[in-house]
C-alpha cells in the first residue's frame, strides 16, 4: 500500500501521538494496533526505558517507556495513556504514549530534516519534522527507537546510574549486563 504508486509514495501516513503536549508521528506501516495501557508487568533487570511486558493475545510483548527512550522525563500514566504496538524488522514491541490523536496523511514534501534536538529529544531518534499549518509534528524513527544500539544503551546505563539515588522505584535500569552478580552474591 505505502510504496505502491508514485502518488502514494509522495505521501506519508502517520499515527500522531502525544508526549508531554508535543505531537509526534510514527509511520503507520509499522504500527500494528493501539491498545489501552493496562496490565504491565515490570521486568527487574531490564533497561530502564523498558517499562515491562504485556500480554497481547497470548504473546508476551515488551513495552517501552517512549518518553524515557527519547530522553524526556518519564511518562505519567493517565486517562489517555496508550500503548502503540509496532512491528519493526520482526520485533514486536509496545510504546507508551500520553495519547493518540489521529491518523494523518501529509505530503512527503512537508517533511524537513530534524535540527539537532527538538524539544529535548535526541536527534538520533528523529526522522524529521513536519510543519502542518500551525502544527509541528516530530517524526520518530521507530527502527532507531527499538534498536539496541550499544551506544544508546550505554547512555541509558549512564543515565540510570545518575538518577538511581533519587528514583528508587524506577531505577531497575542497570542494563543487560549490570545486575545479577551484583545482587546475587552480595
Amino acid at each position: 500500500m505505502s510504496d505502491g504508486s508514485n502518488r502514494e509514495s509522495a505521501e506519508l501516513q502517520l499515527v500522531v501521538f502525544r508526549l508531554k503536549e508535543q505531537a509526534y508521528g510514527a509511520d503507520i506501516g509499522q504500527v500494528l494496533e493501539i491498545i489501552r495501557a493496562t496490565g504491565i508487568t515490570a521486568i527487574p533487570g531490564a533497561p530502564s526505558f523498558v517499562d515491562g511486558v504485556i500480554n497481547l493475545r497470548g504473546q508476551v510483548i515488551p513495552v517501552i517507556d517512549t518518553a524515557r527512550r527519547l530522553g524526556l522525563p518519564p511518562a505519567v500514566t493517565g486517562e489517555g495513556t496508550r500503548i502503540i504496538i509496532v512491528d519493526v524488522d520482526g520485533i514486536t514491541a509496545g510504546l507508551i504514549v500520553d495519547g493518540v490523536s489521529e491518523v494523518l496523511r501529509l505530503p512527503a514534501s512537508s517533511v524537513r530534516p530534524a535540527p539537532a534536538a527538538v524539544g529535548g529529544v535526541n536527534a538520533a531518534y528523529l526522522q524529521g519534522i513536519a510543519l502542518l499549518e500551525e502544527r509541528l509534528i516530530i517524526l520518530v524513527d521507530m527502527t532507531r527507537v527499538l534498536q539496541a544500539d550499544e551506544k544508546l544503551v550505554l547512555q541509558e546505563i549512564a543515565a540510570a546510574g545518575t538518577d538511581r539515588p533519587d528514583a528508587p522505584d524506577g531505577a531497575q535500569g542497570a542494563g543487560p549486563d549490570g545486575g545479577p552478580d551484583a545482587h546475587g552474591t552480595r
Binding site: V60, I91, D177
Partner: protein, 822 residues
C-alpha cells in the same frame, strides 16, 4: 534435476531405510539368520537401489545393488551369515551414510569400490557358486530350461512368463520369449522369498495398516520439522482415494476401451526385458483377456489394483516405479491406467489402477503394496473368473469398476479425505501460534468462570445461570482437549533417538572386547520434539559409561558367576505427567569408597569432609565437574567431562537425573523428563504486587522462617535446614522490588545439581501448570529470569531462572565456612 523437496523426500526415505538395515543387521548378528530379517534388509536395500537410481546417485545404487545381491544369496541359503559378513555390512552401511552426506555436501568423493570389493569377496568366500542364472539366459532355449537353470524354487516366476507368452499366442516368438523369460528368471528368482515373508496374510488390511503406520512414523524422523497429525492413522477400510476422486467417466473410459497407450502400459509394465513381444495386430483387450483367462486356468488370479498415493507425495514417478517393481516380484502387470509411461513420469492424479496377475492372495498383494511408503490406499478387486464370455468380460469388469467409481464420486469426499492423507507437515511455529490461541481461550474461560460467579450471585441459581455454568464447563473441557491435542502434535516417538544407539553399543563393545546384550523397551513413547533433540547426547554418554566402566570383560564376568554378556537395558515409559528413561546395567556398579578416595585426591573434598559425608552424597559427586573414576582415560569415556554435562543438559530441559548402584551388581540411571518444554509445573509466589513462577523441577521444598533464624556469614545471609547450611537470597533485593523484609518469611529452597539455595519471597501462592513464553528478542536474556507466562487473569508473570540463581549464588565458600564454624 530434482527439486529440493524431491531430494528431501528421498533423503527422508533413505534415512528410514538405512535405519531398517541397521536395525536388522544388528538382529542378524544377535540372533542369527531368519528369513524375515533377511527379507527386511533385502527390501530396504532394494528400495534404496531403486530410488537412488531414479535420482541418479549411481554410487549408492551400485552399492545397494551389491547388498541386495548378497542378501539374495542369503535368502536362497547359498550363503551363511558370518562375523565377517556382518562387519562388511556395517562397513557398507557406513559408506551408504557417507554417500548420503555426499548428497548433502557434508562429505566428498566417497569411494565405494573398496566396500563393493569386500562384499563380493564375502560372497566368494562364503559359498560355492550355484547354477547361475546366466547359464540359463545364455541357453536361450525354452522357458522350461530357464526353470531348470536358476529359478527352480520360485513360485511360478517362469511359469508365468510361459503363460504370458502362451496367452498372447506368441508361440512364434518362443525363442525371444524364452530369452526374456530366462533373463527375467534371475530377476524373479531374487523375489522368491517374498511370498513366504509377506506376512501371514491374516486379515485383509491388518498388517498393511501397521506397515503404513510405521511408514508415517519413519517419515517423521526427517529433518523438516514434521509433525504427526493425531487421528489420521490409516483407515484400512476406506476405499482408494483414486477411485473416489477421479471423475467416474474418465476412470471408466480407461478401463473399457483399452486405448493404445494402455497397450503401451501393458508392455512397459512387464519390463524389464521380460516382456513378451506383443503382436501389434492383436487388440489389447483381447490379449489381456486371453492372458487373464489363461492365468486362471493355471491357477493365477487377476486383480484390479486401485492404488492411491499420498497427496503430498513429492516423487510420484519414484513411487510408481517402486510399486511396479514390487508388483513384478509377485506377478505380472498386464496393464495400467494411466499408461505406465505416464506413471513413471509421475503424470497421474491421486492414484492409478493396474491389472495384475499373480498367485498371491489378495490380502498379501494388498499388504505388499500398502507397505510401500506414501501409498495411501490399496484396493484389490478380483477380475471375476468365468463370469462373462471372453470379450465381454473386461468391459463388464470395467463397467463395474466405472460404476463403483461413479458411485464413490457422489458420497466421495469423506472416504477420499480419510484415505488420502495420513500426515501433513506443519511448521512448529504454527503449532506455537495455535498454542497461544488456546492460551487465549483458557484466559477467556477463566474470565467466564468469574462472570458465572457474579451472575449466580446476582440472579441466584436459575435456568439461565445453569446454562452459563454448563457452557463454561464445556468450553473448559474443549479447551483442555484442544491444548492436549496440540501438545501431542508436537510429539515424536523416542525411537528417533533410541534407534541410533544399538549400533553405537555394538561398535563400542567390539572395541572394548566386551559382550553386551543391549535391550531397548518403550521406543514408541512420545516426547516433545525439543526434548528429543536434547536427550540424545546425555544418553549416549550414559551408555558409553555403562559399556566402558560398568560392564566387565567376559572372562571377568564368568569368574564372577555372571553371564558372559553384560545386559544393558534402556527403557522409556510414562510416569504420571513425565517420561522416565532408565538405563541399567548389570556391571560392576560404583563403590562409594573409591569415589570418596578419588574426591580427596582431586581436591574436591577435604579428608574430613569426605569422612563426614554419607554414601549418597559421595555417590552424587560423580556429577561434579572434573570428576571421573576411570583409572585409565580412554577415548570412549573417562575424560572427566561426562556426568556433570549429562546432568546440566538434562536439567536445562527441566528434567532430573538420579541413579542407584550396588557394588558388583550394576547401576541404574533414571532420567525424568517433562513431556514437553512448553508447559511446566511451577510454584507461584507473590512479591509485592508481582507474581513470580519458580519451575517446580528446581524447587526442593518450601518453609516458613522467622527473621531471627537467619544467620549471617560475613556479609551474606544463610539458614540452617536439617543441619545443612544454605545461603539465603532475598528475591526483593535480587529484583529490587518492594516487599516485606521482616516477620515471618516464606522461603523456597531451590536446588540445581548439588547446590541448594534458599530464596525469601513474600507469600506462596501455590502450584500451577504454566505455559512458558519467551520474553522476546527485544529483551533477550534478562538476568534472573528465564521467561514469562500468562496468568488466568491475563496478567504476565515472570518465570525465575532458578538454576541461574543457584549457580550465581556463592555457595561453596559460605557453606564450607559455616560448616567449619559449626
Amino acid at each position: 534435476m530434482f527439486t529440493d523437496e524431491e531430494v528431501a523426500v528421498f533423503m527422508e526415505e533413505l534415512e528410514e531405510k538405512l535405519q531398517v538395515i541397521n536395525d536388522n543387521v544388528l538382529v542378524l548378528e544377535r540372533e542369527g539368520e531368519s528369513p524375515a530379517v533377511i527379507q527386511e534388509i533385502f527390501r530396504a536395500a532394494h528400495t534404496i537401489k531403486g530410488s537412488s537410481a531414479v535420482m541418479g546417485y549411481e554410487k549408492m545404487s551400485a552399492l545397494t545393488h551389491e547388498i541386495e545381491n548378497l542378501f539374495d544369496r542369503l535368502r536362497q541359503g547359498t550363503m551363511q551369515v558370518s562375523g565377517q559378513l556382518v562387519d562388511t555390512l556395517f562397513d557398507a552401511l557406513d559408506t551408504l551414510k557417507l554417500l548420503k552426506d555426499e548428497i548433502t555436501g557434508q562429505a566428498a568423493d566417497v569411494d565405494v569400490a573398496g566396500v563393493v570389493a569386500r562384499i563380493r569377496a564375502c560372497q566368494l568366500s562364503c559359498d560355492a557358486p550355484p547354477a547361475g542364472a546366466a547359464g540359463a539366459a545364455g541357453g536361450g532355449a525354452s522357458p522350461a530350461q530357464a526353470d531348470a537353470g536358476g529359478a527352480a524354487r520360485v513360485p511360478g516366476g517362469d511359469e508365468l512368463q510361459r503363460l504370458l507368452a502362451a496367452g498372447l499366442e506368441a508361440a512364434g516368438h518362443a525363442g525371444g520369449g524364452g530369452e526374456g523369460a530366462s533373463a527375467d528368471g534371475a530377476g524373479v528368482r531374487e523375489r522368491g522369498g517374498m511370498p513366504a515373508t509377506a506376512g501371514d496374510g491374516g486379515i485383509f488390511t491388518g498388517t498393511g495398516a501397521a506397515g503404513m503406520a510405521a511408514d508415517g512414523r519413519a517419515g517423521l524422523s526427517g529433518s523438516v520439522d514434521p509433525v504427526r497429525t493425531p487421528g489420521t492413522g490409516p483407515d484400512a477400510g476406506t476405499t482408494g482415494a483414486s477411485a473416489g476422486t477421479r471423475p467416474a467417466g474418465e476412470a471408466g473410459d480407461n478401463r473399457v476401451t483399452g486405448t493404445p497407450p494402455a497397450a503401451e502400459a501393458g508392455r512397459n509394465a512387464s519390463a524389464p526385458g521380460a516382456a513378451p513381444p506383443y503382436r501389434t495386430s492383436l487388440p489389447l483387450e483381447e490379449a489381456a483377456e486371453a492372458v487373464v483367462r489363461e492365468a486362471e486356468v493355471r491357477g493365477y488370479q487377476a486383480y484390479w489394483l486401485d492404488i492411491g498415493i499420498d497427496r503430498g507425495c513429492q516423487m510420484k514417478s519414484v513411487r510408481a516405479f517402486l510399486i511396479f517393481e514390487t508388483l513384478q516380484q509377485i506377478g505380472e502387470i498386464i496393464k495400467s491406467a494411466p499408461p505406465a509411461e505416464e506413471l513413471q513420469e509421475g503424470r497421474y492424479g491421486p492414484g492409478f489402477t493396474v491389472l495384475l496377475i499373480t498367485k498371491e492372495d489378495p490380502g498379501q498383494v494388498h499388504d505388499l503394496v500398502y507397505s510401500i511408503a506414501e501409498v495411501s490406499s490399496v484396493e484389490v478387486r478380483p477380475v471375476q473368473p468365468g463370469a462373462a464370455p471372453a470379450n465381454g468380460r473386461p468391459a463388464a469388469a470395467a463397467a463395474a469398476v466405472g460404476g463403483r467409481a461413479a458411485a464413490k464420486t457422489a458420497p466421495a469426499a469423506a472416504p477420499a479425505a480419510n484415505g488420502g492423507v495420513k500426515t501433513v507437515r506443519v511448521d512448529v511455529q504454527k503449532l506455537d501460534t495455535l498454542m497461544n490461541l488456546v492460551g487465549e481461550l483458557v484466559i477467556d474461560r477463566t474470565r467466564l468462570d468469574r462472570f458465572v460467579d457474579i451472575f449466580e450471585g446476582k440472579y441466584g441459581s436459575d435456568d439461565l445461570a445453569d446454562n452459563i455454568v454448563e457452557i463454561s464447563n464445556h468450553l473448559g473441557q474443549v479447551t483442555n482437549d484442544l491444548q492436549e491435542e496440540i501438545m501431542k502434535a508436537r510429539m515424536l516417538p523416542v525411537a528417533t533417538v533410541f534407534n541410533r544407539l544399538p549400533r553405537m553399543v555394538r561398535d563400542l563393545a567390539h572395541k572394548m572386547g566386551k559382550e553386551i546384550d543391549f535391550v531397548i523397551e518403550g521406543r514408541e513413547t512420545e516426547l516433545d520434539r525439543n526434548v528429543i533433540e536434547v536427550i540424545g547426547d546425555p544418553l549416549i554418554h550414559l551408555l558409553r559409561n555403562a559399556v566402558d566402566h560398568g560392564i566387565e570383560p567376559p572372562e571377568e564376568r564368568l569368574r564372577l558367576g555372571k553371564p558372559r554378556a553384560g545386559r544393558v537395558l534402556l527403557k522409556a515409559a510414562y510416569v504420571e505427567s513425565h517420561i522416565v528413561i532408565t538405563l541399567s546395567d548389570d556391571g560392576k556398579g560404583m563403590e562409594p569408597a573409591r569415589i570418596r578416595q578419588k574426591a580427596v585426591e582431586k581436591g574436591l573434598l577435604t579428608p574430613e569432609q569426605a569422612a563426614r559425608a554419607g554414601d549418597r552424597e559421595i555417590l552424587d559427586l560423580i556429577f561434579t565437574p572434573g570428576f571421573s573414576t576411570a583409572r585409565q582415560v580412554s577415548d570412549i569415556s573417562g575424560r572427566g567431562v561426562g556426568m556433570d554435562i549429562v546432568r546440566s543438559q538434562i536439567e536445562q530441559i527441566n528434567g532430573s537425573v538420579e541413579f542407584t548402584t550396588a557394588p558388583g551388581k550394576g547401576a541404574t540411571f533414571t532420567i525424568k523428563l517433562p513431556l514437553t518444554l512448553a508447559i511446566i509445573r511451577a510454584l507461584m509466589v507473590a512479591l509485592g504486587e508481582q507474581v513470580y513462577a519458580f519451575p517446580l523441577a528446581n524447587v526442593v521444598e518450601t518453609l516458613a522462617l522467622k527473621t531471627e533464624e537467619i544467620r549471617r556469614v560475613r556479609r551474606a545471609e544463610a539458614i540452617v535446614v536439617r543441619g545443612r547450611v544454605l545461603p539465603l537470597v532475598r528475591l526483593t533485593r535480587l529484583f529490587r522490588e518492594k516487599g516485606r523484609e521482616e516477620g515471618r518469611l516464606s522461603v523456597v529452597i531451590l536446588g540445581s545439581a548439588e547446590k541448594k539455595v534458599g530464596v525469601v519471597v513474600d507469600r506462596l501462592i501455590g502450584e500451577q501448570e504454566i505455559v512458558i513464553k519467551s520474553l522476546g528478542g527485544y529483551l533477550g536474556q534478562v538476568p534472573g529470569l528465564s521467561g514469562a507466562t500468562i496468568l488466568g487473569d491475563g496478567r504476565v508473570a515472570l518465570i525465575v531462572d532458578a538454576r541461574g540463581i543457584v549457580k550465581e549464588t556463592g555457595v561453596e565458600e559460605t557453606v564450607y565456612e559455616v560448616n567449619r564454624a559449626m
